[in-house]
Symmetry: C2
Subunit: 144 residues, 2 copies
């Protein structure tokens, strides 16, 4: 594994860990200031780290009452070209409910990065669940 | 604009045009054989061009009764590093109904490419609409 791939894997691992900890400063440290994010919920896009931070604050407070967070990324594909890279993966996300049961669903994640001043940062990310075109409901019960 | 950026823009423009024409062979010619796609509807992922072609056939037949297709990509961000690139954009998609009225909504597209034997091809794409975390409905009426 190349040094760049190791650094990118470490960045995504840290992002996962800090998202679960609801540590917003550590999560935001993974993004470039000009990040453009297509998140799974609420809005079409968030342009810039300030706008995305507000959305993360909303998500963390929204999920607070649901219990401890779970984000699992069992497998990840990484492609690197010079100082540009992209990753994609399926992620099992959700919460541990009051009875200690995992309430999770599968989501899709695409993460695009640039190496800026020697450090890999996320410049674009896209999270989503597919929807059923007849009912228009998000499909959160699908299994890989 | 670099030669690579011109080629990538031409590829995406062709993809848009051929998707509107429901020309499945021309659409599939934009993808690498090993493409991994996260599409907006039905399934978590499609692995490989054969699986994705079947989904495209389903989408084209599903939309056939709705009228002529519209896909507009007013603005696109492209980042290139050597033989690796990624693009993201908002896309206004839908159909022209029987009364000649455009019935469209905004979607998010992320397209990841590699230059293989001198030709840019899509190796990963991610399309989606966000959803409302309370109703769980796809949000297809949002405006950028």
């Amino acid at each position: 594994m190349s040094e760049d791939e190791k650094q990118i894997r470490a960045l995504i691992d840290r992002w996962v860990e800090k998202a679960c900890d609801r540590d917003i400063d550590a999560v935001m440290a993974c993004y470039a200031p000009g990040v453009v994010a297509f998140d799974a919920i609420v809005a079409l896009q968030f342009k810039g780290a300030d706008a995305y931070r507000k959305h993360w604050e909303y998500c963390m407070s929204f999920s607070e009452s649901m219990g401890d967070m779970i984000v699992k990324v069992p497998e990840m594909s990484i492609t690197i070209g010079g100082d540009v890279a992209f990753c994609h993966y399926l992620s099992n996300c959700g919460c541990i409910d009051k009875d200690g049961k995992e309430q999770t669903g599968w989501m899709r994640g695409t993460v695009c990065l640039r190496k800026i001043d020697g450090q890999w940062l996320i410049v674009h990310e896209h999270y989503s669940a597919p929807f059923d075109p007849e009912s228009m409901n998000a499909l959160t019960e699908l299994q890989p």
